[in-house]
Symmetry: C2
Subunit: 368 residues, 2 copies
């Protein structure tokens, strides 16, 4: 009996988790959170039509989901006015990011991203043996010019940009992204993560151009569509890249219930519009709460608001801990200088009232 | 603008699909199937308690699933009388197979499996740059001794055995598997795929031994629990191996609805017992239908029955085509000599009546 050896790469990997889930924290605390404002989920939930479709599909769950996600793929193609060959439906952006790294990144290749940007991207890059090179945020924005310059400098295979970005909630307008695309090094792939795009002002998304093989855009049902637990994301891109995923993806990986829910959520444009309005309202409320407490809220194009606690990372960390101790689940940026902030998801009036009550106490306790 | 190059490995991969889904076939035919008997799904469905739990969870789908699948992991640990550290919940056996290959197989390493065994394993092995070496079935059974002998001969890193096996439905008893385990080459991992184990006679599964790091056992909610579309599988094994998956798995990959459903399905042991009885009854019915048509049914320890059409692969293929033309979705083994057979999933009386009516016509048409 001899333990099978993991791959040389796997042996080097830490047993890392991109995020600790709120349930894990609740188990450690021995107490559930009163308000779940840390994962940028949408408490406004999916469309009732989507819930209804999922409940109906629960009866059909004895059948595997359609491995082509045909209906959803075609509906998304229609929505975006591209061909179905330009759409890949997958198990959330997290899943698709993993596939993308696997498909394009040789061990030793380099990925350029922003310091403190989405850690799940870094997790996948490490997991496939790639190197991460970062550039700092500039004025709390990801910096497209610096990202591209660094990509040229290090010969990056992939460059990652979230627009709007997480964890700061800031954004760039389409023309700035188009300039970035035009300046990409030859053969370098831009992963343009647009998970929060529905919440953003007009002209934040550059026009779709699926003739450009250097850009892969990622969207999700986890945020504006309120279906984080269903695991449905999609990529939009050049047909050749999109079809390449068929060589490696888990063809029967999609939940049948999730497919049915996403299709119906997509169709209910009225509910989406209502959600966007609720989120806009919640953002305003969060700006006000920040102001009431002498904090600076960053203008947000997402379903969360990032608040500058006005001091260093250690202070913000204490504020966070005090909020958690008051049963409010929030998160904060990992990296300085963004780690002077805390990040609060848009939520119901009831949830925001709990936060509004806890914040002054937390600030006071953290200042002691 | 220059197309980003896929990895050297990805460039060598065909755009392959392990199986063509029934929905794809329906779209090509322009007509839905009257009976869906080809994917070894369970038309008896999940427990009503599981359906109810999934319907309730649909309201909570705005939240990500628990990345630890804590409740389900602990319930499974209790059921199998092992520690939670010995259980990995994942996105179906398909998903876990992919993770396993990625974790243990270096490019160029060899995997030994049976010719005509589960193609999704081969798909993942190719996808991570491994080599597949096969041994033939012996008397329509996978051959544990031949598998181990070949593993020694080629220095295999992984050997794969399904027990009971798919596509033939045959099985070995536990002691035979224990002998196989004892004879494994040092450092070689046995993936023991027990997707169909609940349908098998007592003593088909060897006793669990999670102290042995050379064995990884895979189970699923897709078959006996009737939840193929939910994508919930699990692995049981040595804690060190199980924990290693945390280095590479998609931590937020599980659907929250599926987690809730699987937990409740597991608890409803009465419903499981009823399903197993229905499947046993359907198998008897299928044996009878085979006999009525002069075909030889293989004794099955699964939720399907494989029927020897008595001639060559070309003939069985014609029978299959004639069944499909009569709106009956079935599949057949890919590889000679098993490809003389067709494979029919256990199903409702109504579905089996449709099959019983179509089969003699199909045989006659195929004989012309």
């Amino acid at each position: 009996m001899k333990t099978p050896r993991q791959t040389r790469l796997a042996q080097t990997l830490p047993a890392s988790v991109p995020f600790v889930g709120p349930e894990t924290q609740e188990r450690k605390r021995g107490k559930v959170f009163a308000a779940r404002l840390g994962a940028n989920e949408s408490v406004f939930g999916p469309s009732p039509r989507a819930i209804n479709a999922m409940q109906k599909a629960a009866h059909d769950v004895w059948m595997y989901g359609d491995p082509e996600s045909y209906d959803l793929t075609h509906a998304l193609a229609k929505k975006h006015d591209v061909a179905p060959e330009n759409i890949l439906v997958g198990e959330g952006i997290d899943g698709i990011l993993g596939y993308t790294v696997r498909l394009f990144l040789e061990p030793g290749d380099t990925v350029v991203t922003s310091a403190g940007a989405y850690p799940t991207l870094n997790y996948h890059v490490a997991g496939f043996g790639g190197n991460i090179v970062t550039v700092p945020f500039t004025g709390d924005h990801e910096d497209p010019k610096a990202l591209v310059a660094k990509a040229h400098e290090v010969g990056a295979k992939i460059v990652y940009l979230a627009n709007p970005d997480n964890p700061m909630g800031t954004w760039h307008y389409g023309p700035m992204i188009d300039d970035m695309i035009a300046a990409l090094p030859k053969g370098c792939l831009l992963i343009l993560d647009e998970a929060y795009i529905e919440f953003a002002p007009q002209h934040t998304a550059p026009d779709l151009d699926v003739t450009n093989p250097q850009v892969l855009r990622m969207r999700t049902f986890s945020k504006a569509y309120g279906m984080a637990g269903a695991r449905v994301g999609y990529a939009i891109g050049h047909a050749e890249n999109i079809q390449a995923f068929n060589k490696i993806r888990n063809h029967f990986g999609m939940s049948r219930i999730s497919q049915a829910g996403a299709l119906e959520a997509l169709a209910d444009t009225t509910y989406l519009a209502e959600t966007l309005e609720k989120v806009a309202h919640a953002r305003e409320h969060l700006y006000q709460i920040a102001q009431d407490n002498g904090l600076t809220a960053l203008p947000s194009a997402t379903n969360f608001v990032t608040m500058d606690c006005g001091r260093d990372g250690a202070f913000a960390k204490r504020v966070l801990a005090e909020l958690l101790a008051r049963d409010i689940f929030v998160r904060m940026p990992f990296v300085a200088p963004q780690d002077r902030c805390i990040r609060i998801s848009a939520a119901s009036e009831a949830d925001l009232a709990l936060f509004a009550r806890a914040l002054p106490e937390a600030l006071q306790a953290a200042s002691r």
